[in-house]
Symmetry: C2
Subunit: 195 residues, 2 copies
């Protein structure tokens, strides 16, 4: 397995966390983000979206972090990180989807605008981001983990852009259940610290 990534990418970080927890070896290929290597032809042939992470797995190319997490969890994680009963699989997928909706175009995009990496309306993205934090707090108020009563790839997928939400102008401390959940994630054996 080969992971095309940058050290700063939160979506790449998700894969590194799961691989670290499950002790799965992979080859790291660092993309020169400052020189826009991810927007130029050799890389664009791997991923026309021009984004990291990309993974080469069993001779196939995957360009979405949810797909990477699903592959590693199913291949190496037994029933722990991605259970396979219809109801449990659906519950994990629901939070994977959430990591790609309000968390992505709310928390992540707001941070992108503040850091001058993205254009668009900060106010609009912060609105979605607050909805993300409210929903997480609502769920985590009486659950330790997002899905199925145990840590899964749902938690890993949602973690990085919540952890970095302050950079997008969010008052993370206003959501104590979310802060407590971030700490529970960080205490999992094998968890990698987010730089």
């Amino acid at each position: 397995m080969k992971l095309y990534m940058t050290e700063a990418s939160g979506n790449s970080y998700k894969i590194r966390v799961l691989a670290s927890i499950l002790n799965v070896p992979y080859e790291k290929v660092l993309i020169d983000w400052d020189n826009k290597e991810h927007k130029k032809p050799p890389f664009l042939r791997l991923n026309p979206r021009g984004q990291v992470p990309v993974m080469e797995i069993e001779g196939k190319v995957f360009w979405d972090s949810a797909a990477h997490l699903v592959y590693i969890a199913r291949k190496y994680g037994g029933e722990q990180w991605l259970p396979t009963t219809p109801l449990e699989l659906a519950e994990v997928v629901q939070w994977l989807a959430f990591s790609q909706s309000e968390i992505h175009f709310g928390l992540q995009w707001a941070r992108g605008v503040v850091n001058k990496l993205l254009f668009g309306s900060l106010q609009e993205y912060q609105g979605y981001g607050r909805k993300a934090l409210e929903l997480l707090a609502w769920r985590l108020n009486d659950h330790d983990w997002l899905a199925v009563g145990q840590p899964t790839i749902a938690d890993i997928a949602c973690y990085p852009y919540v952890k970095r939400a302050r950079e997008g102008g969010f008052m993370l401390d206003a959501y104590p259940p979310v802060i407590a959940w971030l700490k529970r994630c960080e205490a999992l054996p094998g968890w990698l610290k987010l730089d």
Copy 2:
């Protein structure tokens, strides 16, 4: 199974298509969208996001269409609609994720702005939407289906907001492989016509 939906909702339509194809019975609960029933307390207790579709399944509430598709496909669809090998599951999940990224905040949001249901930058959303159509055309140029060489929930998840892309100002006819794929979807036994 109970499906809270509106007739106009593309995300609700995905569930209705899969249930129709697999001949799975469910109870339909029509939400009064014009009177904003989805933004008021009884419904908001089911789904704090204030969106349809929502499903009640085996006593649990799910508020994301990807989760609904995954549940129905795993429960009733054998290996056809959501295969379970790590590589195939990852491939389907990659396109489910895509249906919730560029298709969602590109094609769907642009249509929302044109139809005066959403605010935000039409130009920005159309930019993402064109990327969605380009990626789909790139993939479908030499594949009949989005994932694993057969129709799966990946195709169902991506279909509705591509089918309606013209309403968001997109030149769908500029992407012949996408048009051909829409027709292949519509020819599947049990497929429901999108109103």
